[in-house]
């Protein structure tokens, strides 16, 4: 920690003193361009933290440049005002594009942003009245503060302006990535369904990243307009997009310093390659290919690994138990925690769930069983908002929540654990649980950016809570281990801790014992019992009949989407229809 501060101070002093160390104007120009690319790539990096690569940032850069330039030319406004206005406008355009495209993922998003940039380029080329087309827009005023006297002229002036803007960008992105927003973005990239069901809105967070990212690109464009004082549609060239993508990915995606290092390296590499004359771009391509092939995690990642021999994560402190919520839960809405009424889901002509009704009592453990394909997972998807039903309603604490998005349902206090991967594989176990504390956060965005006292307190509280959750499931000694390195059984337990972190009142578990051995299953049963003892209601889907019969108060049996029986475990084991439904799938009660 101390060495990081020292290094930061040294770098800051060098950056501030550089123009007085006898460097020439061209070198300063390259540094200014580095800063410009940093603004652009830092924004791309925010989106990339959520797994969304945009190749359309030239469009936002260009929009910002033209907006600031045109405002200054036509209205005679000082760039002191037009530059922020351009950034805000670009952020707004980003919002509009986000409305259309943020539901797209992966390659779709990449390609649509490429297309968007191309459309904007064509508009800038063809809308002659506004942009003067390919001839370009000359006469953009240099940066000034209203009067001639305070006009930036020299490279040194612009260098310092850029230092201020890049410093602000570094601070903003570091705060966002280093806080719960950064965790949420990483969670969305790593396991979007789980993030949503932990109360994280993928849409809201990617939108935040999108708007900030575009506003930064717009600010970069505004700076460029008054620095170069001439604009042309060349700004939108795909070559610039390629350069930015190269910088952000080779720098180290998702890492705060990645874009800075990437921008620095790939602003200067082409300059060094000038001596190669004709072969310059060919060499550039080859260097790029080698970096991608042999350093796919990005330069910062390998620098980090080189500088420190992988420091161990801090051991969890043995703090006071802030664990599972005590019984202070207000008893709203009567004795029924969750009510499913006449829910039907059809896929084509086939009814996966047909007119299903069930009640989960407060503090009850209810099992939903049935042969494979009976519609259990579909029922779970309806209850948790991943699948809108064709008919029927779902009420939670007496409130109708049919059709709400998954994160809203989680916010209300109904959280699920998934059947397959119910963890964020890349992150350490503790961060997995910490991420899921998201819905408990009460501090505002500005508080986490400015690192207020309230925010720091809250972070500490959540960290303690996450540790307590890990201790509860018996994983406190694995806090620093990446989730994907845990054993199958440990991953199920971690999944349970993640589901408990948002302090739910109803827990849905989809085959929690799948892949567990007998000992682990016993431990799991003990945990579920303990969870119920704290006042939570549990609905679970399970094939392990020992667990179902030994743990549950009541059982609901589905077959071909229809409820065929409901009752206590003892009643279910004698039920003729249940026995008939299961005949094909072996003697399921043999070991119960």
């Amino acid at each position: 920690m101390r060495s990081r501060v020292t290094w930061g101070a040294v770098i800051a002093v060098v950056v501030l003193a550089l123009p007085f160390l006898g460097v020439d104007d061209y070198f300063l120009h390259l540094l200014i361009m580095t800063g410009l690319f940093f603004l652009l790539t830092a924004g791309m990096n925010l989106l990339l933290a959520a797994g969304q690569l945009t190749l359309g940032h030239t469009a936002f850069f260009g929009i910002g440049a033209y907006a600031s330039g045109l405002l200054a030319i036509h209205f005679g406004l000082s760039p002191l005002w037009t530059l922020p206005a351009a950034a805000a406008f670009t952020g707004f355009v980003g919002y509009l594009l986000g409305r259309l495209t943020l539901k797209l993922r992966g390659a779709y998003f990449v390609l649509v942003t490429v297309g968007f940039a191309e459309v904007i380029r064509l508009v800038a080329t063809n809308w002659m009245d506004l942009t003067q087309g390919p001839m370009g827009l000359a006469g953009v005023p240099p940066f000034n503060v209203g009067t001639e006297r305070w006009t930036l002229v020299s490279k040194r002036d612009y260098y310092y302006l850029m230092v201020v803007m890049a410093g602000g960008t570094l601070f903003l992105t570091a705060r966002l990535l280093g806080s719960r927003v950064g965790r949420a973005l990483a969670a969305i990239q790593s396991n979007e369904s789980l993030a949503e069901s932990s109360g994280i809105s993928a849409y809201a967070h990617t939108m935040l990243a999108m708007v900030v990212s575009c506003a930064l690109a717009g600010a970069a464009g505004g700076f460029y307009a008054h620095y170069i004082t001439f604009l042309s549609p060349e700004l939108f060239g795909f070559q610039n997009t390629v350069t930015m993508a190269v910088m952000v990915v080779t720098g180290g995606q998702g890492m705060v310093l990645g874009p800075a290092v990437g921008s620095l390296v790939f602003t200067f590499v082409p300059e060094f390659l000038r001596m190669a004359a004709f072969y310059r771009m060919l060499l550039y391509g080859i260097i790029l290919l080698l970096v991608v092939m042999y350093m796919p995690r990005g330069l910062v990642f390998y620098l980090n690994a080189l500088l420190r021999g992988r420091t161990a994560p801090p051991a969890p402190s043995a703090d006071a138990d802030v664990g599972l919520a005590p019984a202070e839960r207000p008893d709203q809405g009567g004795p029924t925690a969750l009510a499913v009424r006449g829910v039907t889901v059809r896929f084509g002509g086939l009814a996966a769930v047909d007119d299903l009704s069930l009640d989960l009592g407060r503090g009850e453990i209810l099992a939903l069983i049935g042969p494979n394909g009976a519609g259990k997972s579909t029922a779970f998807n309806v209850i948790t908002g991943f699948q809108p039903p064709n008919a029927g309603r779902v009420q939670f604490d007496g409130v109708d929540m049919t059709g709400l998005p998954p994160y809203r349902i989680a916010e209300l206090g109904l959280v699920r654990m998934f059947q397959r991967t119910s963890v964020f594989p890349e992150a350490p176990a503790l961060d997995n649980v910490l991420t899921a504390c998201h819905r408990l956060a009460r501090t505002r965005l500005w508080e986490l950016v400015l690192l207020t006292r309230a925010y720091r307190e809250e972070e500490r509280r959540h960290r303690r809570r996450a540790q307590a959750m890990l201790r509860f499931v018996g994983l406190d000694r694995k806090a620093g281990e990446a989730a994907k390195n845990l054993s199958c059984g440990e991953q199920r337990l971690l999944g349970l801790a993640i589901a408990l972190a948002p302090d739910p009142s109803v827990l849905l578990l989809d085959e929690p014992a799948a892949g567990l051995n007998a000992v682990e299953t016993g431990e799991l049963m003990r945990l579920i019992e303990a969870i119920r003892a704290r006042g939570l209601s549990v609905l679970l889907v399970e094939h392990d009949m020992k667990l179902v019969m030994g743990l549950c108060d009541r059982v609901v049996v589905l077959n071909y989407g229809v409820k065929i029986a409901e009752g206590t475990p003892a009643e279910i084991q004698r039920h003729p229809e249940v026995i008939r439904a299961y005949l094909g799938s072996g003697e399921i009660f043999a070991d119960a």
Partner: protein, 291 residues
């Protein structure tokens, strides 16, 4: 009036056939390998330059030269897969994508060094006089290009549906691990897929190169358009790429004829944005639910 419309439609369909070829290649590569191929435009460009070199410079028979060009691009594709993409298979999607971006920079600049940047024409063997069929006029090279595109599309379809390697490709597309367990040599499938996709782009480049101009940066716009095509049709969807390609060709031709030729190249992307409002997963894509 009507004749003009028909003329636009026919022009659009012929260019659209070229787009569809590009799109099929791109969509196969993405569907099977999960690689967004940013070097696709360069394979298109190579197809045109190989034809230019073989036919215009070395005087090889036009049809033989066309076939050899397509084959040559396929070989380049196979080499790229073997040397670059195979090593990046376990990386997240943007890493192989960026590798193809680097490849596109390399290939395009290699082309500038080998053939210089000035645009060239291929003086093909067809008569420059247009054929007239009722109200429609069409030079025969365009008819040839359209017919070859149709033949290649049908051929690709048959290859995927009827042959052994096609079956292996479909299996890999559905579930790579299961395909491997069932004895499919997935490495071979990937290599073939990339080579085949590249060759289709090369074919498109050779055909359209004979109709229009040949220059090192000709692939940029072609690549952008093939992206538009596959998004419209749904990434990884064969039929979608054909429909998307024809749709793009026709709407561009109509747009250029009736709206503005300056905005012609933007039409595909405007279409995409409108389409995505209605169907986020493309025309033929499917939604997936969590488990």
């Amino acid at each position: 009036m009507l004749a003009e419309l028909v003329q636009h439609l026919v022009n659009g369909l012929i260019v659209g056939g070229g787009y569809a070829l590009m799109g099929i290649g791109l969509t196969l590569i993405f569907g099977i390998m999960r690689v967004v191929n940013f070097a696709h435009g360069e394979f298109f460009m190579l197809g045109a330059f190989f034809l230019f070199t073989l036919f215009s410079l070395w005087g090889v028979n036009f049809f033989l030269a066309s076939a050899l060009s397509v084959l040559g691009v396929g070989v380049v594709g196979a080499v790229v897969e073997r040397l670059v993409l195979r090593r990046l298979r376990s990386e997240p999607i943007e890493i192989p994508m960026l590798a193809t971006v680097a490849l596109s920079v390399i290939l395009q600049n290699a082309a500038i060094l080998l053939w210089d940047p000035s645009p060239k024409t291929i003086k093909h063997v067809f008569s420059p006089l247009p054929l007239t069929l009722g109200p429609i006029h069409m030079v025969s090279i365009r008819i040839f290009a359209g017919l070859v595109a149709v033949a290649l599309i049908v051929g690709s379809h048959l290859l995927i549906q009827k042959t052994r390697i096609g079956r292996a490709m479909r299996a890999t597309f559905q579930d790579t691990d299961m395909a491997r367990l069932a004895g499919v040599d997935v490495d071979k499938v990937y290599m073939f897929t990339f080579a085949f996709g590249a060759a289709l782009a090369g074919a498109s480049g050779a055909l359209l190169g004979a109709v229009f101009w040949v220059y090192p940066a000709m692939g940029d716009l072609a690549a952008l358009k093939s992206f538009a095509v596959v998004i419209m049709g749904g990434l990884g969807n064969f039929l979608g790429a054909i429909v998307g390609g024809l749709l793009l060709g026709v709407s561009e031709s109509l747009g250029a004829g009736y709206i503005s030729s300056g905005y012609k190249d933007a039409i595909g992307f405007v279409l995409i944005i409108l389409l995505l409002l209605w169907r986020p997963q493309g025309l033929f894509g499917k939604k997936v639910l969590p488990r």
